[in-house]
Symmetry: D3
Subunit: 156 residues, 6 copies
Amino acid sequence: MKRTVYFGAGWFTPKQELAYDKAMHALKNNLSVDLVHSYVPLEHQYKGIRVDLNPEYLHDLEWSNGTFNGDILGIKSTDVALFIYVPTEEDIGCGVELGYAKAINKTIIVAIPDEEWGEPINLMSFGAADSFIKLSELNKYDFTKPEYKFYEGEVY
Amino acid sequence: MKRTVYFGAGWFTPKQELAYDKAMHALKNNLSVDLVHSYVPLEHQYKGIRVDLNPEYLHDLEWSNGTFNGDILGIKSTDVALFIYVPTEEDIGCGVELGYAKAINKTIIVAIPDEEWGEPINLMSFGAADSFIKLSELNKYDFTKPEYKFYEGEVY
Amino acid sequence: MKRTVYFGAGWFTPKQELAYDKAMHALKNNLSVDLVHSYVPLEHQYKGIRVDLNPEYLHDLEWSNGTFNGDILGIKSTDVALFIYVPTEEDIGCGVELGYAKAINKTIIVAIPDEEWGEPINLMSFGAADSFIKLSELNKYDFTKPEYKFYEGEVY
Amino acid sequence: MKRTVYFGAGWFTPKQELAYDKAMHALKNNLSVDLVHSYVPLEHQYKGIRVDLNPEYLHDLEWSNGTFNGDILGIKSTDVALFIYVPTEEDIGCGVELGYAKAINKTIIVAIPDEEWGEPINLMSFGAADSFIKLSELNKYDFTKPEYKFYEGEVY
Amino acid sequence: MKRTVYFGAGWFTPKQELAYDKAMHALKNNLSVDLVHSYVPLEHQYKGIRVDLNPEYLHDLEWSNGTFNGDILGIKSTDVALFIYVPTEEDIGCGVELGYAKAINKTIIVAIPDEEWGEPINLMSFGAADSFIKLSELNKYDFTKPEYKFYEGEVY
Amino acid sequence: MKRTVYFGAGWFTPKQELAYDKAMHALKNNLSVDLVHSYVPLEHQYKGIRVDLNPEYLHDLEWSNGTFNGDILGIKSTDVALFIYVPTEEDIGCGVELGYAKAINKTIIVAIPDEEWGEPINLMSFGAADSFIKLSELNKYDFTKPEYKFYEGEVY
């Protein structure tokens, strides 16, 4: 038995990119995750267009509606909403996805880079998640047996 | 007929504080808003304790659970979720609240400071909101007659 | 105390148009309805464009997304979802709205033209609604005191 | 890995019946669908009674409540809500199911007979679905990897 | 500004009946409650039939479905779900309503008879409610300004 | 194909404990249930602390919030909400869970001890469940093919 995940993560700063890559690597080795059928937003930009590489789409309503609807589809069609979360560079996109996933009653796991474990996080992220783990635990975390666990660090 | 609002806003940077104050001032003059029965999170910190002024509560689970549950109560017990949104300093707490409000089918209005109107905002905020207005329009905006309207600026 | 309604109705056949007009007339006289703040989809076509009069918009994704999102906003921002329902000419648009309103736990009232009262209706409409009334009762129906009531006619 | 589907389809006109049979045949050959554990409403009429063959049940509240609740159970207990959708003969029952499935955040796929691909469909069906495919693609469509896709035809 | 309430309460033991009557009396004097438009289940038994006085309906599916659907309508069509809750004689019907109200994001207030304040209550009721008050506070409680507040007594 | 279940049951009276043990034994033999990945609340008390054996936690907000959130996680992360339900000793905790599971559209099965089959149950439990079975049927019940079925006993 494996679980599919929605891979929520920012990719807008070096720290976020580093955490993103580490997390993706860990998931590939995680035996409880069905990565092939998981949903990675960057691989589902509408019609394959990445707006960061094609800035002319920044104003395109077809692209933005299609990509937004795709991300929502990703959250609702997978088993677990996973977030790669950097406390010192919180990503608002992950915030919206966290709140949405909470309200539609998805299981929510938040992975935090080890070097930032304990750093303050926003109160709303604290309350929306079901469990917090360190990024170094991600490769072995059992997604088929989630347990509720509060964040051990600070909340602001 | 008036509407109650959930007042979603960051208060962590000077820009956010400025927008916060302007918005609060505008709401006091808005005839379509019942401000007395609206929910302003800063006025509902658990047991009246503001964690920024009382940092010893940063680790207190009673405080953090109570305040998070209070904010959720604020969203569900009011008519409209309003967000004061600074594109260049997006607040992740507002992000979670936006996603939650979207998923429980609340009406969502996002007000953006005039000087930042058109600046890129996160795709997920774009898709979660029902209408975007300029902060200068907030004092006259009719909350009893919301219209769907896409953001006119960029989306990243 | 008055209630706002979402005015769900087809306008694609003479029978539907007749029922539409009768219903609108009745609502104007209904003392329990706040018609000014109710949501009538035909009055909220995106940017004021009616696609039946402007067929070049039939393929326009901005128009169709904007109008769809507007109708969803109408359902979620009003107190009661009202449907003008012609059993012999059921409208699929009302069907989608009925199902959506049911799932988000809105109060749902279905008004049926007197001359078609008792005619078979689809099983899913039967189950989604909270109460069925005759169109001739609409002008006096008390929207502030809804009662659960099964349809008395046939179901197919 | 396979997905279970809710098989939403009308069976009230020759065109609908033809599409129904083609779709069922395609699903039997679709390797991504677990048809044995999918929910086909016609096979779950309350106590095995089909009201079209037993018209004395048209007024029976036990039958109608039981069958409606069964269909809702079908939608909520399966992975994907699939609709066989004939644009020129839209079925209101599918409409209610579409709206319900949308609001409870199910993945929604709409299959349209090839010869009607591009024909106008109701705006609300357009907005409720996650992806539109041709009926001829149904036997190979990968239900384990849904992608968001707008309808390419007209919307009214 | 007043709020409508769903009046959740058992009426199966002398203690429950006593609390029921006291609560109803208090609500009549509460200036923040619109009692006329509130929903009191005992006044909405299907077709006015009370099954405790008409035991022949204990097996009647029309009656039981109609009454259940009416109670759900009561929860969804009012502003606040209020429960009169006797810790030593907890009522399972209120339990189901509490859970339902929580999941559809209603504001939930639980009033406990003064003489039982602090007595252990079930963990799930503890977590579902937004605020706990004493029955003696009910006549002055401001339903237009709910605050989140944990139960001060024991939880089992 | 197997299904995971949330194991809802009281453990506060000898009758409830007996039913609890019989049910757990039956599930171990049920080929359609993946018991290893199911959620049994007693095995998930926060930090492994059972409040009945450690009464000093009766007032501990961290324990009570953590355990409540864990039970909600159990309901949302499993396929079916199963309740072991003793009509003569209904458990309010199961009531809240039933209502919650109903509102978030989970499949709900209620198993009743054979010797109490037909005894009156609360109307709200009647309406929230999708199917009622006897406890003696639990070891062979096919959780992968739920059918809607009304309770055959009395409702009060």
